[in-house]
């Protein structure tokens, strides 16, 4: 008891100090960010969110208000993500939550923000269930997994063949991509999977599967995994002697730069769907590529970067339209105003593959803003990889919903 009391007194004291510091400044729009600041890529585009908000401040803020951004790392762990969200909401008293980048972290945070009535905008989580929870407070900038699968399957069925082997890693995004793809192949072409193997999230040795796939004689292999795992699998597929004529299909994380960097030549010919292609020839995309290259030393930005950038732009537009009081009495009202302002963003076309539009209803149709997937293929692997755009497909709003 004695020590508990003591410890809790200490806790209390600490709470008083930080609590006061956090609420001292009014007139600021407080934005909390929780992201997976673990991988190199993750850290860089997390930093990009912060940098972009800083630039808005340097340019005079929004309607005279400055932005106060707090960035926390959730390591892609749901309990840490929830703790971060709570810390940001209750301690930092944020007006808007940005995050997370992992589906398994975004999923519980959706419940937290729905309950505390804080608008949440997601930079990069594709799991379908996030917007299907019916929260009126969540917005998704990236393309939902259900759209990706539809586009991918259509292309595969029409151009490659129907006999596809699947290697699916056990992380949430890859599982989702893999299952959705199989379902789409079935519903669009009636094609059953030729071979399916669930592998662990960070599997390093795929030779057993490659040997089996080799003897199964398939038209294509879909490798749904996080970047590094996918890269290893790609390399090992060539080592096992599966010829280049068998197409390699990536899940959406194939756009991450570690894939071509680690896989090297094995990345050549891999195609995937993403929300942005560095090979995009619009002037805005050229400028963006150059900016990311200079600021973060990234050879060619993937869609994580474009989505982070688009997210900041969307937030900027919404905050500009919202009528904010920014004092402690109006915290709840300001949060609602920001939510409504985001819901009013229509037809935003920045770097995103398609126009991003939100609306007020708490449905996936309203909250999955981007419906356009770009089909991309690597034409050269290695650290100086090159991609090409195969197609750009916009899906109907209801696609993939039951």
């Amino acid at each position: 008891m004695t020590t508990t009391t003591k410890g809790i007194t200490a806790l209390l004291a600490a709470g008083l100090v930080t609590g006061l510091a956090a609420t001292a400044l009014a007139g600021e729009i407080r934005i909390g960010v929780t992201m997976r600041m673990v991988s190199e890529n993750g850290q860089k585009y997390g930093q990009m969110v912060v940098d972009e908000f800083d630039m808005i401040n340097k340019a005079g803020g929004i309607n005279g208000h400055t932005l106060d951004v707090t960035l926390l790392n959730d390591e892609c762990k749901s309990d840490k993500g929830v703790a971060n969200a709570n810390k940001l909401i209750f301690q930092e008293k944020i007006h808007l939550l940005v995050g997370s980048t992992c589906s398994s972290v975004s999923l519980p945070i959706v419940d937290v923000t729905a309950k505390t009535k804080v608008p949440q905008i997601i930079p990069h989580s594709t799991n379908e269930k996030i917007t299907q929870k019916g929260s009126a407070w969540v917005f998704r900038v990236p393309v939902s997994g259900r759209y990706y699968a539809g586009v991918n399957a259509k292309y595969v069925g029409e151009n490659i063949g129907k006999k596809i082997a699947y290697l699916c890693a056990a992380d949430a995004a890859s599982q989702n991509d893999c299952e959705a793809m199989q379902a789409q192949m079935k519903s669009q072409f009636g094609a059953e999977a030729a071979y399916v193997a669930q592998v662990q999230e960070k599997e390093v040795d795929f030779r057993t599967h490659m040997q089996k796939i080799k003897s199964a004689g398939v038209d294509g292999i879909m490798i749904a995994a996080l970047a590094e795992t996918m890269a290893r699998a790609l390399v090992q597929s060539y080592e096992a002697g599966i010829p280049a004529s068998v197409n390699r299909i990536g899940s959406s994380s194939a756009s991450n730069s570690p894939v071509p960097a680690i896989a090297g030549d094995a990345a050549k010919g891999v195609f995937f769907t993403a929300a942005y292609a560095a090979a995009d020839d619009r002037p805005i995309a050229r400028l963006f590529n150059e900016m990311v290259r200079q600021r973060y030393g990234i050879h060619a930005p993937d869609h994580d970067f474009s989505q982070a950038y688009d997210l900041v732009r969307i937030v900027e537009i919404a905050l500009g339209n919202a009528d904010l009081k920014l004092d402690s009495a109006n915290l709840a009202a300001d949060r609602t105003a920001i939510r409504d302002a985001i819901a009013n963003v229509k037809g935003y076309q920045g770097l995103a593959s398609g126009p991003i539009s939100f609306c007020a209803e708490a449905t996936p149709q309203c909250r999955d803003g981007n419906r356009t997937a770009v089909l991309i293929a690597y034409t050269k692997g290695g650290k100086d990889y090159v991609t090409e755009v195969l197609a750009r497909v916009t899906m109907p709003v209801d696609f993939g919903l039951k």
């Binding site: 673990v38 991988s39 190199e40 890529n41 850290q43 056990a170 193997a197 669930q198 592998v199 662990q200 960070k202 599997e203 390093v204 040795d205 030779r207 057993t208 599967h209 040997q211 089996k212 080799k214 003897s215 590094e228 890269a231 290893r232 080592e239 096992a240 002697g241 570690p258 960097a261 680690i262 896989a263 090297g264």
Partner: protein
Amino acid sequence: MDFDFTSLFAFILFGLTIGVVYGIVALGISLIYSGLDIVHFAHGEIYMFGAFFGLVFSEHMGVPYPLAILSAMVCTGLLGIVIERVFYRRLTRAGGGYTVAGMGMIICGFGMSVVLQNIAYLSWGADAEPFPVDLGEPFQFGDISLPKSYGLTAVIALLLMAVLHFFLKKTKIGLAVRAVAANKDIAFLMGINVPLMISLIFGLACALAAAAGVLIGPMQSVQVEMGYLMLMKAFAAAVVGGFGSLPGAIVGGLLVGIFENLGAAYISPNHKDIYAFLLLILVLMVRPSGLFGVEVRVKA
């Protein structure tokens, strides 16, 4: 459908080639166990450091691959000696094995693994680094193709074992090392510099882990988090072979490699890591002394 013997052969071959690497790490773990009476939980991170050292030498400094292996071994060995001298020595002096200090050693090992992993992350970043080594076209056994790096790994592993065997059995220092492993008190009375030998054992074990790290680089790329899984497999290998038994470690490694590959191929691939654990637990429960281990006598 007929049973596909080619595939079975392939799976066993894959198991053997990765098992050799488990075996080398297990060899180090076993060596430490017999020399210091501790199970080193940070050995996975030592292996990871070895891999990164190899990468730095080979990719960034342009040292030829075989030389890179040697240099990485030396650097990692020295790193190990420093860690052992600065941190572990106080605990091992208080007694390893079953004592309360032994429990401290386990916790200390965990702490050290976290520290090393973070240091590696700060130095080399979180992303996996490719470690391409061009050895030419893969070997072909009928329908099975095996990249040369796997063959090279097997050869180097055998070479390392032979050198270690020669060192322990035929050299004077090796004899001293074995004496220390057998009984420190008696070794001390025989005039052997026991602390120095302990450092040497630890350094050797770390060098072996480094060799494994550099060897596996071309197959699986190099990453900060690579240590933990390898540690588990190597533990399983060391236990299966019998803690403290050097040939046991290699045989254990091969068995773990084959076991998990067959499990992944014929039972279920996403439980792959569980098979190694399963084997570990099974062997511990049925025969804690492993295949080649000697039954430990309880001193009453």
